[in-house]
Symmetry: C2
Subunit: 430 residues, 2 copies
């Protein structure tokens, strides 16, 4: 299966960019090796639903091998990238090293803390299934602890959830936690009242969802406030300690649950490429998405800084990553097939299909071309589009079923503490 | 909600026994406190399906609070039992202590290693959701490692799964792993052939499923062998080391995956009760299930040793635990309601409704009264009964959907590595 082909294309990362590349790339003379450090493709736009008990992990993750099972020309490796030897056209992995003719960098990003990596332990971000399961267990456990606790000061702390960052992920997390506490948990405790939980969304800019037009930001804020979320804009975080957020004003918020949704950086491996990076660690690529001086290497998705005609960077969203994957697939395919006769490489053009963010039950905002929606219509559009883009028949049906069930029952299917944070003793009891 | 009632009933454990007690116990003068160290009731008979990628954790677990949400007389506490002060009628918990008038001990058991607790690290058992998620990730990861590995000796080791113990759990695990490797994974690798994986089931007794009639044991063994499982009866394990099982004969099996399904002990907290215990740590109870000299304390389910008329112990299965829960609920209810006028306590009688074990797709054995079934009919009966007894409408529909999907697609819905065993470095890449 391996071996005889003339060209070896190595793809690093099986997110939206890497997987779309694989799906669009077909050349009889080439084989692909796809490397990822997890065994699954993750539908990141629904990750916040795993964190907030709405969906289970397998609902939004598909085994990469299973997705590409029919593609005999693709070898999938679960491995970790450790470095590059670009002069030798080599990728260094934890357990292997791979020689490539073409390299597609699609490793995405991780949560960025603006130069404060020490905040991560107190305010986890949401990028992987493990992150989501940890957040879910942590928040559910905080309510359990409050029920066991006599002191009301301690109740208030445990029942406070601070979300830092008013972008789409922050808005979705805050809205979904507000619903969880207001409806799902409302009748299940005897000593505490979960509807009294404080959900605080903190945003440094003057408005949330600042990539959307101001009227949609205002609408999103109204919808969040209707759910009981305290939205605090123009509010900067100065420091984060255990169970404490210190604001620039000096105010201290005591919170048993602090979640970070304020920044994404490209994987730190971009530093090993010897290429120019922007502040967020993204690689500055040529208009065709190749690395300067390396026409055989491309960077796509959240790793790449691509400037549009107006000088703005293409946003770090999944449709952009998918469009880049398709763009690079066509370029490499042409060059392998046609050699010197291949057409000149076209520049990448981002086609913005619209942006949306969901806030809660029947609450969302959407901006598509000249049209702006809020409320029920935006929410239905959001549901529909997310179901369509979920990979795999089973996931689509399972997610549709879970959503329908939650909508009518006011329950959530994944209210299960599995990933218990390590505790001193672990003997089975009770 | 708490406080005014005359009687306080403390129930330790929200498994089949404890939960059935709660559902059947109703007394206006009493309140219940139910303590469990997890937040969910677990449908243990399907735990092996979470370990073998067939179901996701939330499919077989329901939040205890949600099940008992309507019962204003029940307070649920997530806490760990640390000891007892029976003279003072007090249960000691990690974060609280509880005074009781009646105490129901329903804490179940944990995996027992016949005096070799050091084997646990190399051969995990299957009692909790965390166990199941860990086993799932470990086995999936072993196949991933084999695909990355050049040495064929290493392949053989990584692709060997040894299951120790030929009871229902061992048979179900071995059959389900055989199906996983023979069908689900068969086309997804390029360097290794998962259908060549060795699944070895080891049983010390002369036949597997020794609680069933010999012809059903023989049928189960034939069905397992048809799936490719090596069944080794009359084979004892002498020692277990990392990736090595040493048999009594001196033979050593090299296996990257060793699972322990050979023994269950009662929780070690029974030692703190000052009552007589059997070898497996179970409390020897009176015929009414109360503790000798403690008419106000009952032990039910896997914690209790109850002898039937023929001198055999009631088996440690969920129907027995549920029947015991109901029995004790009636006794305590009568005594609270009628006081001195309560009828004499009846002895507990176990009603054996039959036994079954599933082996794989269309393969199972069942023994109900005078009837013995094997194959498709037993399998359909197994599916039907397990769906009926699953708690919660959502779980029933979700599990039915997952099974139907797997049956027709030969895929499994939960082939996701989430619970990664701790590794030295955890930086995001690939």
């Amino acid at each position: 299966m391996e071996g005889d082909k003339k060209f070896h294309v190595v793809v690093l990362g099986a997110g939206f960019g890497g997987l779309t590349f694989c799906k669009h790339f077909h050349a009889a003379d080439a084989r692909i090796t796809l490397v990822d450090r997890t065994n699954h493709h993750l539908f990141q736009p629904l990750l916040y639903q795993v964190a907030t008990c709405g969906l289970s992990a397998p609902d939004i993750a598909q085994p990469i091998r299973s997705i590409l099972s029919e593609r005999e020309d693709i070898t999938v490796l679960l491995d970790k990238v450790t470095g590059f030897d670009l002069a030798q056209k080599k990728v260094l992995l934890d357990k292997n090293s791979l020689d490539f003719d073409f390299l597609v960098l699609a490793m995405g990003g991780h949560t960025g803390y603006f130069g404060h990596p020490e905040w991560e332990q107190f305010a986890p971000g949401l990028k992987s299934l493990d992150d989501a399961l940890r957040i879910r267990s942590h928040v559910l456990l905080a309510f359990e602890k409050a029920e066991n606790e006599a002191s009301t000061a301690e109740h208030d702390k445990l029942m406070t959830i601070v979300v830092v960052g008013g972008g789409p992920t922050g808005v979705e997390l805050a809205g979904s936690f507000a619903e969880l506490t207001r409806t799902v948990l409302s009748h299940d405790f005897r000593r505490i009242d979960p509807t009294q939980a404080r959900i605080i969304l903190i945003e440094g800019a003057p408005r949330i969802l600042s990539h959307l037009p101001p009227e949609l930001s205002a609408s999103a804020q109204r919808q969040l406030e209707a759910l009981g979320v305290h939205v605090r804009t123009s509010t900067s975080v100065k420091n984060i300690r255990e169970n404490e957020v210190e604001l620039a004003s000096g105010e201290i918020i005591h919170a048993g649950n602090i979640l970070w949704a304020a920044g994404v950086s490209a994987t730190s491996l971009t530093k090993k490429l010897g290429a120019e990076l922007d502040k967020a660690g993204r690689v500055k690529v040529n208009p065709d998405l190749s690395l300067p001086n390396h026409p055989e290497i491309f960077a796509i998705g959240d790793m790449a800084l691509v400037l549009e005609k107006d000088g703005k960077p293409v946003p770090g969203v999944s449709p952009a990553a998918m469009q880049m994957g398709k763009h690079v697939a066509k370029i490499i395919e042409n060059e392998i097939r046609l050699g010197a006769k291949a057409p000149a490489r076209p520049p990448f053009k981002y086609w913005d299909k619209g942006t949306m963010a969901t806030i809660g039950r029947s609450a969302a905002v959407a901006w598509v071309g000249r049209f702006k929606f809020s409320g029920l219509l935006a929410w239905l559009a959001w549901l529909f589009i997310h179901l369509i883009f979920l990979i795999g028949f089973r996931s689509r049906v399972a997610v549709f079923f879970n959503w329908t069930y939650s909508y009518f029952s006011y329950k959530r299917s994944a209210r299960i503490i599995t990933y218990l944070p390590p505790e001193p003793s672990d003997e089975k009891s009770g």
